[in-house]
């Protein structure tokens, strides 16, 4: 296809459909489709795609959308779906099941505030609530990043060393319903990038097993630990997939923690999704004025790429974590992770800023105020709510 003007939802659907189609030489693809704003267009597109060997089932709930994905994946097919907000919450039981079953299911999570109150705008709280679900989680800052990450996620999830599902998050409306120019990969390229899927523990008649039945505490702990070991391998397998991606698509996709002008930075903004793009612009603005500001796109959230973050921040001693989410009683979720990852760096001041919650605009002005606040700050304090306490 080449370069085209597409919305985030189109980009996601294009990629999911062709990744599914790529498995036509193996056991095909399937998934469940259930509408919820702002991801609905994705499942509409999937339902309209003419798969050679695939079927998207129009189910009655998100719980069943993931149920169909689990059944399809247990039967050896490439499985995927998309959801948002309360849909993800409703799906949660089967989200956990997919992770514990070690099924390489792919889901696009179009971030939206969880209700009530009824708010359809972007907030990462919906996908972050699933952080303990044995799923990889990636946060994407542009349509291109979304496309690339979906493909990388299939490749990593299906790697026999990993076998974990992956969620790819993107901003509701700001990304899902706006157009950007992106490189839409051809079917042949995707065929070359994604090998036929083999789910080694799929249901099979030559070895009839009961999958998901009773295990005793000791065996269960071993299974959980195996998930942890797989998670620990993800950054390595992801980096290998980046290399392979570059070989096939002639482009380098973003890394787990993608730095921008951090080599000599004094201040670094850590941000995900479209806030990361805004942060890039603020870095350019401040650099033009001679201030040594950098940013890191926090892309790989599960496993949390702590080592990559420590490397990515460079020499900076002041870090602002931008959280478009909030864990009541704790603070921003990315901040909690960043603080844990930087516990070996007591010399670094890490300040949390709760910004753009439930769809608030995060403009360059907002981030410039944060840069100024952080520059003047002697100590880190409790999370600062940009719209309330700043």
């Amino acid at each position: 296809m080449g370069r085209a003007l597409v919305t985030g939802n189109h980009a996601a659907a294009w990629t999911l459909a062709r990744a599914g189609e790529a498995n036509r030489i193996a056991r095909g693809c399937a998934g469940g489709a259930y509408p919820i704003t702002p991801q609905t267009e994705i499942i509409e597109h999937l339902r309209n795609f003419a798969f050679t060997k695939g079927r998207i089932v129009p189910v009655e709930s998100e719980h069943s959308a993931m149920g169909v994905c689990i059944g399809a994946s247990l039967a050896g097919a490439r499985a995927f779906t998309a959801s948002s907000a309360n849909g993800l919450s409703y799906m949660t039981e089967n989200v956990f099941a997919a992770g514990y079953y070690r099924l390489p299911i792919i889901m696009v999570a179009v971030n939206r505030a969880l209700g009530p109150p009824w708010n359809i705008w972007v907030d990462q709280g919906d996908s972050l609530a699933l952080r303990d679900a044995a799923w990889m989680q990636f946060y994407t800052e542009s349509h291109q990043d979304l496309i690339d990450t979906i493909l990388l996620a299939f490749r990593v999830a299906e790697d026999p060393r990993i076998l974990l599902p992956a969620m790819i998050a993107t901003d509701g409306f700001i990304s899902s319903h706006t157009t950007m120019v992106a490189d839409l990969p051809d079917q042949e390229q995707i065929d070359a990038f994604l090998p036929p899927l083999n789910v080694p523990h799929r249901l099979r008649f030559d070895h009839p097993a009961t999958i998901g039945g009773l295990t005793w505490p000791r065996e269960t702990e071993h299974l959980r630990h195996a998930i942890q070991r797989a998670m620990e391998l993800v950054p390595t397998v992801y980096a290998e997939a980046q290399d392979e991606f570059e070989r096939v698509f002639r482009r380098r996709p973003h890394g787990a923690m993608e730095p921008y002008h951090t080599d000599d930075a004094e201040i670094v903004l850590v941000a995900c999704n479209t806030m990361a793009r805004t942060a890039r612009r603020v870095v350019d603005l401040r650099r033009a004025q001679g201030q040594r500001v950098g940013m890191v796109q926090a892309k790989m959230f599960r496993p949390f790429a702590g080592q990559a973050l420590r490397n990515a921040i460079g020499p900076a001693k002041r870090i602002a974590v931008l959280d478009r989410n909030h864990s009541p009683g704790a603070g921003g979720v990315f901040w909690q992770e960043a603080v844990a990852a930087l516990r070996s760096r007591p010399d670094v001041l890490v300040q949390d800023y709760i910004v753009g919650l439930c769809g608030g605009d995060v403009t360059p002005d907002v981030l410039e105020r944060i840069v100024d606040d952080l520059s003047a700050r002697a100590d880190a304090v409790e999370p600062i709510w940009q719209e309330v306490t700043a």
Partner: protein
């Protein structure tokens, strides 16, 4: 000389292997063996949600099921089965996909999932072994529990009537729905055969005796079901395309007392024989209405 267990079925790996954890007198044991008899060499995928049936499997790494089996989350039997049946069809496999579920996963928590799979007419054989109780958790009421029955959550007897699951499934116009009695072997086998040879969504409802929950004697399980059919509390019938109703075993005037007096669960305030008789008559009036209003048999 070594002793070998007598094979229950013709093929070496039965659907339900010996050494499973079913209680004595559990309807599941007989039901699964008879289903296996009709399956013959045909091997199904099994999907079992949370219910006694997944306890039956035993603990890792063993399994009492001789076929590939997915343990599903409670409400998900019909959605997992949809995924499996979809992929089986995409790959031209001819293994039936069978959901084996309790009444909790069918009448209650899994009803929306089941309804949706039925509405889409997925190629699934959904079998509910209905013991009218949450047996796995120690005997709580479900919407399949009959009025008057004492459970741990209805200590004075359930105040509401049993949900009419067959009417609900028939309202989906599924190609085939039938009730199964473990006291009527030939009828049971014939209907399993019909279900297996029908395409699309099929629903079988087996009244599954549960000595633990029903407070009955294990050796009376089959006789209890015979009494349930005879007195009419459990009508044995089939429905084609949600329209054509056929009664397979007429009620024979067995007194309701023959059924309820052998189960200590029927000790609630509402478990009054005359009240139960009136409900049974209601149920049969409705069935007969359906028989007469259906499309003529061609």
């Amino acid at each position: 000389m070594t002793t070998q267990a007598m094979p229950m079925t013709a093929h070496p790996d039965p659907l339900l292997r010996p050494g499973n954890t079913n209680c004595a007198g559990c309807g599941m044991s007989l039901g699964l063996h008879w289903i296996d008899e009709i399956l013959g060499s045909e091997r199904p995928y099994l999907v079992i949600p949370a219910c006694c049936g997944i306890v039956t499997a035993g603990a890792y790494p063993t399994s009492a099921y001789g076929v590939p089996t997915a343990a599903a989350t409670f409400a998900s039997a019909a959605s997992y089965a949809t995924g499996i049946a979809t992929v089986a069809a995409l790959n031209n496999e001819h293994h039936p996909v069978i959901c084996w579920t309790g009444d909790g996963g069918t009448y209650d928590i899994g009803l929306a999932t089941l309804s949706a799979a039925a509405e889409r007419n997925e190629d699934i054989l959904y079998i509910c072994y209905d013991n009218e109780i949450y047996g796995n958790t120690g005997g709580q009421r479900s919407s399949a529990t009959p009025e008057g029955v004492v459970t741990t959550t209805t200590p004075r007897g359930k105040g509401e009537r049993k949900k009419n699951m067959m009417a609900i499934m028939a309202a989906h116009r599924v190609p085939y729905a039938a009730t199964l009695s473990v006291a009527h072997r030939e009828d049971f086998l014939r209907k399993v055969r019909t279900a297996l040879s029908t395409k699309g969504f099929r629903f079988l409802l087996m009244l599954s005796p549960c000595p633990t929950g029903w407070k009955s004697e294990p050796d009376q399980s089959v006789e209890l079901i015979r009494a349930a059919v005879g007195c009419g509390i459990f009508p044995v019938f089939e429905v084609f395309d949600g329209d054509r109703y056929v009664i397979n075993v007429p009620r024979d005037g067995t007194p309701i007392e023959d059924y309820v007096e052998k189960q200590r669960r029927y000790s609630g305030l509402a478990a009054d024989p005359s009240r139960l008789r009136a409900q049974i008559d209601d149920q049969w009036r409705m069935l007969e209405r359906m028989i007469h209003s259906g499309r003529p048999h061609v």
